[in-house]
């Protein structure tokens, strides 16, 4: 055991496959240094699906790419710690040391299944290649393994698929192949970056179920990145909500939907139409848009769009702190929120509604 990081002692024997502490990823651009991920901390346990939710520009994909170290190292600075499997500090590995991790112990699924497969090789070739890169299997053994993986993903006629090229498959089938490729070395951590966004609803439901099954069978920890709260409700165990590079809320999925604490989370939940939404009224909206990373506001980053913002919000950046509401069934410390008024908001909302009623 190394003693590079004090936490490592605490982590020894913990089930967390990934522990990210105060991750800061910044890019040098023409407009100066842009911090796309600003002090993000989270952990993923074995067999757990952690949802990372946010809109475009919130840093959720950059977080995933930082864990995999996929960003151009010439222009990117990492800070903080990404501890894999309790012992290995991923950010401190050299590129050569990092390579054996990618694709074997860290699997990744991308949004676009077409561009993550090479169009000039057959599915079989690509799967066998992926397997043999990280194992000592013979060609025949790897081929058997490839077939077995395709069967697990539930793709019809797997023998035929091995001989086919990516363009001969439908979008859903391609994504199954990508998942088979990510799972073929039985990774400890699977990172899924919007894996169903490019798919039809019916296919999406099946792919979600597949990812859910895989985590049960392989005990894989999963980072599931999405902007879709419906998908979060379907599959995630715990959720972190990101806004402009920061985690603003961190809790289990039931608490997130039952008692969202941050005004942004509340806004997101309210503004997403559902089958039950009353269509005689306008949708509640979050005004404005996410500012760009070159114009990060002082204080609370959401304050300018927040209906509950007060002067104090813009004075100092709020801490990510435990949220406790009387009568809440979550244990203290399990629900983190980055808002100084989180506890007052339910009361404000009820009085606000009354005011509105009297206004009309």
């Amino acid at each position: 055991m190394t003693t590079t990081h004090a936490e490592n002692h605490d982590d020894a024997g913990s089930p967390d496959v990934l522990r990210v502490r105060d991750l800061r990823t910044s890019f040098a651009t023409e407009d100066g240094l842009v911090t796309a991920v600003d002090g993000v901390s989270f952990h993923v346990a074995r067999g757990e699906i952690l949802g990372i939710v946010g809109e475009s520009g919130c840093g959720k994909s950059v977080t995933a790419e930082s864990v995999m170290r996929l960003l151009d190292e010439d222009t990117t600075d990492y800070d903080g710690s990404v501890t894999f499997d309790g012992t290995t500090e991923l950010l401190e590995l050299t590129e050569d040391q990092m390579r054996p991790y990618r694709g074997s112990r860290l699997g990744m699924i991308f949004q676009d299944p077409m561009s993550s497969l090479n169009p000039v090789y057959t599915i079989g070739n690509q799967l066998i290649e992926a397997i043999r890169t990280h194992t000592r299997l013979t060609k025949q053994q790897a081929a058997d393994k490839a077939l077995q993986m395709l069967q697990i993903t539930g793709i019809p006629e797997p023998e035929l698929r091995l001989r086919q090229y990516p363009h001969q498959l439908s979008g859903g089938q391609r994504q199954r192949v990508v998942i088979a490729m990510a799972m073929c070395c039985e990774p400890d951590l699977l990172i899924a970056d919007e894996p169903t966004t490019a798919l039809d609803v019916t296919t999406q439901a099946q792919i979600l179920r597949l990812i859910d099954d895989l985590r049960c069978n392989y005990d894989t920890g999963t980072m599931f990145i999405t902007h879709d709260l419906g998908v979060v409700a379907e599959i995630c165990d715990r959720v972190i909500v990101m806004y402009l590079g920061q985690v603003i809320e961190d809790t289990d999925v039931h608490t997130l939907f039952d008692e969202p604490a941050h005004p942004y989370t509340r806004g997101l939940l309210a503004s997403t139409p559902s089958l039950e939404t009353d269509n005689s009224k306008d949708l509640p909206i979050i005004p404005g848009a996410v500012p760009t990373l070159t114009q990060v506001p002082d204080g609370c980053r959401f304050a300018a769009r927040c209906p509950f913002a007060i002067d104090e919000c813009t004075r100092a950046t709020p801490e990510l702190r435990p949220h406790q509401r009387p009568g809440s069934h979550t244990a203290a410390g399990d629900h983190l929120v980055r808002c100084i008024r989180a506890e007052e908001i339910p009361d404000l909302l009820s009085t606000g509604d009354e005011q509105e009623d009297t206004d009309d």
């Binding site: 019916t202 939907f257 503004s271 139409p273």
Partner: protein, 291 residues
């Protein structure tokens, strides 16, 4: 504009349909370099539609179901292989010059807000162009209309001097809507107008579309794959599957009593609203995506 109740409450038979399609069919023929017919794909097959004024008609289906092609056929961007399209009783023919003024009444909003505005032209020019195309020369009319359209979508005139890249995705989509409003159309064909937008921006654009419908009496053909959005916005819904309209009903009726198996599958696939619904959820049959 006092009438704000959803139009589904009133019987649509009370008025004449504004936009109708009869037996609409579109075949895409692929040809060899010498012009010989190599093969044909029927994107839309014998489609019949009636869209009533001031209503929102939604077409849903998965990618490749022909819903976008239908939108383009109705707008006149594509010429149907056979079938007839009528706007307020008059026949629309994509090829004939006479139906050009009629086509003006049908405008379109596109999915991708990033490529749907010319990056090299200022917003003012993009908007003015819509009127110049239809032969409007009067500068004061053009200027007034630009102001009106921009204000309708929540912008002020100073925004007209900027280039599209200075706006966010949701703002660009609103500029796209302003462009469509320039010629004061009766029908807006919205092809997945919110699917490329962030969640918090989607609601802004949906509300804007509803507000414009109330204020301007617009009729929408809303093409989408998102059942929740469609449920919220539409009065009537048509479900397309492999180029055919397999089911059509009022929004209420379709969701409460879906008839066609595909509609049922589509509704069963809609993501749940709350994690506690996980247990009750109808699971889908194995390998159902082999279509």
């Amino acid at each position: 504009m006092t009438e704000t109740t959803p139009a589904s409450a009133e019987p649509p038979q009370s008025t004449e349909p504004l936009l109708t399609a009869r037996g609409l069919t579109k075949e895409f023929v692929s040809r060899s370099p010498l012009g010989f017919r190599k093969g044909a794909v029927t994107a839309v097959k014998d489609l019949n539609l009636e869209i009533y004024p001031r209503q929102t008609y939604a077409l849903v289906g998965e990618s490749g179901s022909g819903k976008s092609t239908t939108g383009r056929l109705l707008q006149g961007l594509l010429t149907p292989t056979s079938g007839e399209i009528r706007l307020a009783g008059q026949v629309l023919d994509a090829r004939s010059k006479e139906s050009r003024p009629l086509r003006r009444d049908i405008q379109m909003i596109f999915q991708d807000p990033h490529s749907s505005l010319n990056p090299r032209r200022r917003v003012r020019h993009i908007l003015e162009e819509a009127l110049r195309i239809v032969g409007q020369r009067d500068r004061s009319i053009i200027r007034a209309r630009v102001k009106d359209s921009l204000e309708a979508v929540g912008f002020s005139q100073e925004h007209a001097e900027r280039f599209p890249h200075e706006f966010s995705g949701g703002q660009r989509q609103r500029i796209g809507i302003a462009r469509a409003l320039m010629v004061e159309p009766k029908v807006l064909i919205c092809d997945e107008p919110v699917s490329a937008l962030d969640v918090s921006i989607q609601a802004q654009v949906l509300n804007l579309l509803r507000q414009l419908q109330r204020e301007r009496g617009l009729t929408y053909l809303f093409i989408s794959h998102d059942m929740s959005v469609v449920r919220y916005l539409a009065d009537r819904i048509g479900v397309m599957y492999q180029g055919e309209l397999v089911e059509e009903n009022t929004s209420e009726g379709l969701y409460t009593a879906p008839q066609h198996p595909y509609t049922q599958k589509l509704l069963a696939s809609v993501p749940i609203q709350h994690p506690r619904q996980r247990q009750q959820r109808d699971r889908l049959p194995e390998n159902a995506d082999q279509v």
